[in-house]
């Protein structure tokens, strides 16, 4: 029987409103998708020193196509799964560039977290593990800019004269604590890595394999409430983006809780019972957990082409077809 959550928070956008919003933008988005395809083709013609141009285009197309499919009412679950494959490719490629060039990436933690939870939620466990390993390497090399900033903030905070507001990482620590639990690690060395994490998310991730069904249900309810709390479907100004605490800052992400699916998928992988809860976030079309992982993956032709072009582009992408198509 489904457990009713205490004080469930209402999602900040309703599914019907999301569809309406996406429909008003579909012409523009369609145009942007065409443009992204053109940019990808441009990169095929004249590859630069990095594949960033093509990767950025792929990232845009993947997210935009989900929006278009939703707007046209031809949305199906296969698309979410295909999106996970592209998420993997995008983050894998970025991490490779970063590891190879030993540059400090301007972004990192946030996109890595989304890529990991997307892969986990779609059952692409090997892909998630690869991203996790890359991220750990980057964390150990202190290659994330955020690590420097946190270290600075913590130092500043020691002086009571300074007002320092530290905004913790949420999805990032959640994703990596989940991967840690999966590998049998009790906890992650956040202090050593100079990352400040949100305790609620850390606690929820560490409870992923709990056998106490009450605790599991409570954790699930809390994850739903946290998702709503840290979502903002229409970021409009400085106060509304992931740098200052909102993790889910697009209309689709606001009601598409892939981190919750990731949590459930890990339990499912171990054969643990899944808690059933009643929460408005899960009670709408994008909030339903799909228990069956597809045996046959649907890949878009442009995505297959991109993988092939990357393999031809540089030997370090040689393993990519195996990772993406054979052993996800």
């Amino acid at each position: 029987m489904a457990v009713e959550c205490n004080n469930p928070r209402q999602p900040k956008i309703e599914f019907a409103v999301l569809l309406e919003y996406l429909a008003t933008r579909s012409d523009r988005v369609d145009h942007m998708i065409q443009r992204s395809h053109r940019r990808m083709a441009d990169w095929y013609q004249a590859p630069g020193p990095t594949p960033t141009k093509a990767i950025r285009a792929a990232e845009y197309i993947s997210e935009a196509e989900i929006g278009l499919a939703l707007a046209d009412q031809r949305f199906h679950l296969g698309q979410l799964f295909a999106h996970a494959a592209i998420s993997f490719l995008v983050d894998y490629s970025r991490n490779l560039t970063r590891l190879d060039g030993s540059r400090k990436g301007p972004v990192g933690l946030w996109s890595n977290a989304f890529a990991i939870v997307d892969c986990l939620s779609a059952g692409r466990f090997n892909n998630a593990q690869i991203l996790r390993d890359q991220a750990v390497q980057l964390l150990n090399q202190r290659a994330y800019k955020a690590q420097e900033l946190y270290a600075e903030d913590l130092e500043l905070q020691k002086d009571p004269e300074n007002y320092v507001e530290i905004i913790p990482q949420r999805l990032f620590v959640f994703a990596h604590e989940l991967m840690g639990q999966r590998a049998g690690q009790e906890k992650q060395p956040w202090e050593i890595w100079d990352i400040v994490g949100d305790q609620d998310y850390i606690k929820a991730a560490r409870a992923v394999y709990t056998e106490d069904m009450d605790e599991a249900a409570q954790t699930l309810c809390q994850l739903c409430n946290l998702h709503v709390q840290y979502s903002n479907p229409f970021p409009a100004d400085d106060e509304n983006d992931h740098l200052i605490g909102f993790e889910f800052d697009t209309p689709i992400r606001a009601i598409w809780p892939t981190e919750i699916f990731a949590w459930l998928r890990l339990r499912q992988e171990r054969g643990l019972p899944l808690p059933e809860v009643e929460h408005p976030l899960l009670d709408q079309p994008l909030g339903r957990f799909e228990p069956n992982i597809p045996t046959q993956w649907e890949y878009k032709p442009w995505f297959v082409e991109l993988v092939q072009k990357l393999v031809a582009y540089h030997p370090r992408y040689a393993d990519l077809p195996r990772m993406v198509f054979e052993q996800p």
């Binding site: 020193p49 960033t52 100004d237």
Partner: protein, 115 residues
């Protein structure tokens, strides 16, 4: 003021084609200990990236872009991601009359510069 700014390590002058942008932050009402920059503003690459993305998506008050402008911003975003763009940040503290009282009456502005 310009003369004093020149006493800080001068950055190389912008070349034709360089993209130059300013963001001014007011710290109203805090004379002795003005608040620092928010996290979003301190991480300058990400700060610039979010603005470029908003412009690209036409969110908020950003106007819709022509294809050429959108391509330009896309290229800028790619360059940003490849660390091919460089930023400088200069902090200047003064009070609201512009009288530089925040330095305790000293005739010079308190300035910090980061490469």
């Amino acid at each position: 003021m310009l003369a004093q700014i020149r006493t800080v390590d001068p950055p190389p002058p912008p070349s034709a084609g360089d993209f130059v942008a300013f963001e001014v932050k007011s710290t109203l009402g805090a004379l002795d200990n003005p608040p620092g920059l928010s996290r979003a503003q301190r991480d300058r690459e990400v700060f610039v990236e979010t603005r470029l993305k908003r412009a690209l998506e036409g969110s908020g008050s950003y106007p819709a872009l022509s294809d050429a402008d959108a391509d330009f911003i896309e290229d800028a975003l790619s360059a940003l991601e490849d660390s091919a763009m460089h930023f400088r940040k200069i902090g200047i503290r003064m009070d609201h009359s512009g009288a530089l009282a925040s330095t305790g009456g000293k005739p010079a502005m308190e300035m910090t510069a980061w490469q």
